[in-house]
Symmetry: C2
Subunit: 360 residues, 2 copies
């Protein structure tokens, strides 16, 4: 029996450059800094606020890119500047989490890390907190914990966890991490009942994940030890500048989770979405009786299932439309069939091909 | 046999306030001043240029509203200022044509008027000119001539002319003016073969139409005589200001054409359209292989049958769309299912209800 909960640090992975929400998302203003739902706050702000009462703002560590440092400071004014770790280059999640781990270890050798993507949506914060508390407790006992989402549909856009026996109350063994399935496989997973969506959220002690990195990714571990020796000092930036680009570019899933043994999962249902497209944003947004989500001055005539986001003050009229997304910014306008919103990346690719840095 | 063609005056009816092309068309910039087809000129400019070699610019009379006087001057720099008749209020086409007639009569007692809407599209100018010459000749002999379009489809959006026997080469008797039909009636007209679309273009001598007005609209005639007494003088504006609002608000079709006897028609096929909606503008516009008509900086991804008109310099992306019209101006944006573009008037009505003068 635990005497008290371990001290928990939030490690928020905020490196994404989010091209799927163009024209709102840009290199300097990626998805995690967007307010995708009317009246709410940037996704990264929501991510940290969800842990109120569990993690102190002083114990939040943000790993991100230099280009959005100012945006992060603005979105998270309560987080100390020294807790914002700026990657000189993006090297995927394993180096990102490893770097955060050496910081946590220095602050508290017994510290637990709650590793969270910056840009997910969670509808039921109460239910989420229950999962978090279970996960922190299990992680404090030395386990590596993933968070699984009980699937509500045969989604082909997520990776899955195959779950085994219960290890303790609410904590089940993970038998395997499985890739995004095709439609019929996804249906099988749903029918089988022992699969959960891999949410990309992890809980573990810093010392535990560093031990696993030492075993499975020794090159990464050596680089992290170099950084760890100067973590929190004036020398760190220079060492990171030199070492970070040499670290293996690898995800924590592939580099550690799929190789380590004894990984467990806490599962739940708390209205989770990774908000992967304008379509997903529409699904999560408040809508009128016609299924329209309108932000900005708008006249709607005979239209349904539409989303408008206009910040220009321009009057917009939607006439006779069904399932269309309109997003207007100062320099760009997207008009997109809602169900084709994953193709926004084609627009971004075309802008890259045209070297349109002004629009990226 | 005519010794020479009568002197022909163009009377261009440019009073329309065109709400169907919002957000481009506004009270101060109605349809007749728009360039609806890439690379071309305003519709009213095209209307007059089509008569090159038939009507001198000095013999063009424009009847319009005061609010667009400057726009008309700019679109028709070759037309003398004194030939632009500014209605203090719109009273439909009979007073408009009557006022022009008293001006023509003063310039040439034998003058023929070619009365033309300012905002139609004609694809085959050569074929149109042949019709015009036939119509001028017949009008010079004292006939009232309407121009009929041989119908290519059972259109329910136009009035029809029922045609009788041939009176002279290319000139047929008009047995009746018939209202816009329903779909099955339109099909009957098409099958019958002796119906033509009423184009709204008329040819007659000024003295002839004034005589018909005297017979069928004596109130209008009295008012026109008051104006005619001072036409072309400094006093005219004041007399018009007083008299014009008292004239009967009536169309030339209802007030004269449907009542006078001996009306004839010259018919033809010259790619005529009254360009009644964004849909019609799309039909007439140049399009790429996917049926898209694009004006402005645009990235098109998997879209077809669309029209974009953007003048802001903004980059527009059209993703996964079919048959959508996007029109962007400095202060407004329309996104409309192409086949619902007649519903743009609902938007304008809503703006009127909101008293949004800035957008009307």
């Amino acid at each position: 029996m635990e005497e008290k909960m371990s001290r928990c640090f939030a490690v928020i992975m905020a490196g994404g450059s989010g091209t799927r929400f163009w024209p709102e998302s840009r290199k300097k203003n990626p998805k995690q800094l967007l307010n995708l739902f009317g009246g709410s706050k940037p996704l990264i702000t929501q991510t940290l606020e969800r842990l109120d009462g569990v993690v102190k703002q002083d114990d939040a560590i943000i790993v991100t890119g230099r280009i959005i440092r100012d945006g992060i400071r603005k979105a998270l004014p309560g987080v100390p500047a020294g807790n914002i770790l700026l990657e000189p280059v993006a090297r995927n999640t394993a180096p990102c989490i490893g770097w955060a781990a050496v910081h946590v270890l220095k602050k508290d050798p017994a510290g637990v890390m709650a590793v969270l993507p910056a840009d997910h949506h969670i509808a039921d914060v109460g239910a989420f907190k229950k999962v978090v508390n279970t996960a922190i407790e299990a992680a404090g006992s030395g386990s590596i914990i993933t968070v699984g989402i009980n699937p509500s549909r045969p989604d082909t856009g997520y990776g899955y966890l195959r779950l085994g026996s219960e290890k303790s109350a609410g904590v089940r063994e993970v038998e395997a991490f499985v890739e995004k399935p095709d439609a019929s496989t996804a249906q099988k997973y749903l029918d089988a009942g022992n699969y959960a969506w891999n949410s990309g959220m992890f809980f573990f002690k810093a010392e535990k994940i560093l031990a696993e990195i030492k075993t499975h990714m020794p090159d990464l571990h050596r680089g992290l030890m170099d950084i760890g020796a100067v973590a929190g000092t004036d020398e760190e930036a220079a060492v990171v500048e030199k070492v970070f680009p040499t670290l293996p570019e690898e995800s924590i899933d592939y580099g550690i989770m799929e190789k380590a043994s004894g990984i467990c999962a806490v599962t739940g249902e708390f209205g989770w979405s990774d908000v992967g497209s304008w379509e997903a944003a529409w699904e999560l947004a408040g809508k009128d009786d016609e299924g329209n989500s309108i932000q900005g001055e708008c006249i709607v005539a005979g239209s349904k299932g539409c989303m408008l986001r206009s910040s220009s003050g321009k009057t917009v009229a939607l006439v006779g439309l069904e399932d269309v997304v309109v997003v207007e910014t100062g320099d760009a306008l997207l008009v997109c069939r809602r169900t084709k919103s994953q193709d926004v990346k084609k627009v971004v690719n075309e802008l890259k091909a045209q070297d349109r840095k002004d629009l990226l």
